[in-house]
């Protein structure tokens, strides 16, 4: 089904590009090259489409099977969704310039095109010149958290680096003078401040509270670890539906993962690439028409001269 229909326009494709003007026109070869690339993309698109369809059909079948064998009244659906779910598979978009993308055309054509694009320089072309590549990958929740923590640390450190050092020294000195009773604790604070742990950055205003922090540090770390473990366990969506999930449901999950990780990002990338080639084809066609019009005018002028 899916493979037969899209191929219908191909017949038009072979007929249309070379028909309007004579052969040997540089624009024609360029358009032909673009169209062959476009057809390759279309082929990939249709095969991806059919594999997505079959994957999803399998997924729906497995879901139905899981629901059929489930206890009465249980349906694996939205009632079980976790309200605090966190995405473990995320999109990665790479946006690059299209330069390295010219598979189907000669180098000369590419250069010409780039020049002309530069010359034209319309506002709407900014999007068209970019090449977007989509990917979907697993992101561990703890990874995300660690990254966030690191970022926060870096930001805090970046902003306060110098201030902090001075402030800490000062505060330690001040505290050392005024609060002799807490001297030992402050020394602890001094040692933790030299080793970069996440909770140590303290603003100068809070310096009076520093003595209480180092004691909590180890406890906080432990809490964080247990939290992360809990989140990791929670983060498998299968767990929403209970500890022992039926095999069909697990199969449905693997199929969904395959679709999300492999097929969908590729489909989207091919789609973007096709849109890009469409723009290029239209542009080349316009140029060809312009040239043809100019030639026709010149011819008309020449014939008019000859007549005179």
């Amino acid at each position: 089904m899916t493979t037969t229909n899209p191929h219908l326009p191909l017949q038009d494709a072979t007929a249309s590009p070379s028909s309007p003007t004579e052969e040997g026109n540089p624009y024609n070869t360029q358009i032909d090259a673009l169209l062959t690339r476009y057809l390759h993309l279309l082929d990939e698109y249709t095969t991806l489409r059919s594999s997505l369809s079959s994957l999803q059909a399998g997924m729906y079948q497995n879901l139905a099977r899981a629901n059929f064998t489930a206890e009465r009244g249980v349906r694996y659906g939205k009632e079980y969704f976790d309200e605090r779910m966190v995405a473990s598979r995320r999109v990665v978009v790479k946006v690059g310039k299209r330069k390295g993308n010219g598979k189907g055309k000669g180098k000369g054509d590419e250069k010409e095109e780039e020049k002309e694009e530069e010359e034209e320089g319309h506002g709407g072309e900014d999007e068209g010149e970019q090449k977007a590549e989509f990917g979907v990958g697993v992101v561990g929740v703890d990874e995300v958290e660690v990254v966030k923590e690191k970022k926060e640390e870096e930001e805090e450190e970046g902003v306060k680096q110098n201030e902090e050092k001075n402030a800490k020294k000062e505060s330690e000195e001040v505290l050392g003078k005024h609060q002799e009773a807490k001297k030992e604790v402050i020394q602890k604070a001094g040692t933790t401040a030299t080793t970069p742990t996440p909770t140590t950055p303290v603003s100068p205003d809070d310096s009076s509270e520093t003595p209480s922090n180092p004691d909590n540090d180890t406890e906080d770390d432990k809490e964080d670890e247990t939290k992360k473990k809990k989140i990791r366990r929670k983060n498998d969506p299968l767990r929403w539906f209970g500890l022992l999930t039926p095999l069909p449901l697990r199969l449905a999950q693997t199929q969904a993962i395959q679709a999300v990780e492999q097929i969908i990002p590729r489909l989207v990338t091919v789609n973007a690439e096709m849109a890009q080639v469409e723009i290029e084809v239209r542009r080349a066609r316009k140029r060809r028409e312009k040239e043809a019009a100019v030639k026709a005018k010149a011819k008309a002028a020449a014939t008019a001269k000859d007549a005179k």
């Binding site: 229909n5 946006v95 489909l267 973007a272």
Partner: protein, 124 residues
């Protein structure tokens, strides 16, 4: 250029608008995300018989224009048909919209926006 690149990098979620089975399946793959409590924004919408077109349209607008953290919007083809005018007028590169088949409505190439674009290119 630079702004759109940064814009693309922030787009890290997939969003789904679909019937219950489609959404359940895709969420099983781990794409579901609910933002921190004050707004608690979901990146999915379960559409059933009772869901009206306005709600679907609102979700589509939210995923495509309001939220800047969504890179791909997946929508069941038969639901996309219900808000076809909105789906077809979405031409921005990010987020990209992909129509996917559903349980009761298999993929129909006639309605596929990409293949309609192909026809337009060759039919001119």
């Amino acid at each position: 250029m630079a702004t759109s690149q940064a814009d693309a990098r922030d787009r890290q979620f997939l969003a789904v608008i679909g019937d219950e089975d489609s959404v359940t399946g895709l969420l099983l793959a781990g794409i579901g995300h609910v933002t921190a409590p004050p707004d608690s924004q979901k990146n999915f919408l379960v559409v059933d018989n009772k869901t009206d077109n306005a709600a679907i349209e609102a979700a589509f607008d939210r995923f495509t224009t309001e939220r800047k953290d969504i890179g791909i919007v997946l929508i069941n083809q038969h639901i996309a048909d219900r808000i076809r005018h909105r789906v077809d007028t979405h031409t921005a590169a990010f987020p990209t919209v992909l129509e996917i088949p559903s349980k009761d409505h298999p993929y129909d190439p006639e309605k596929d926006s990409v293949l309609r674009r192909v026809r337009r290119l060759f039919g001119e």
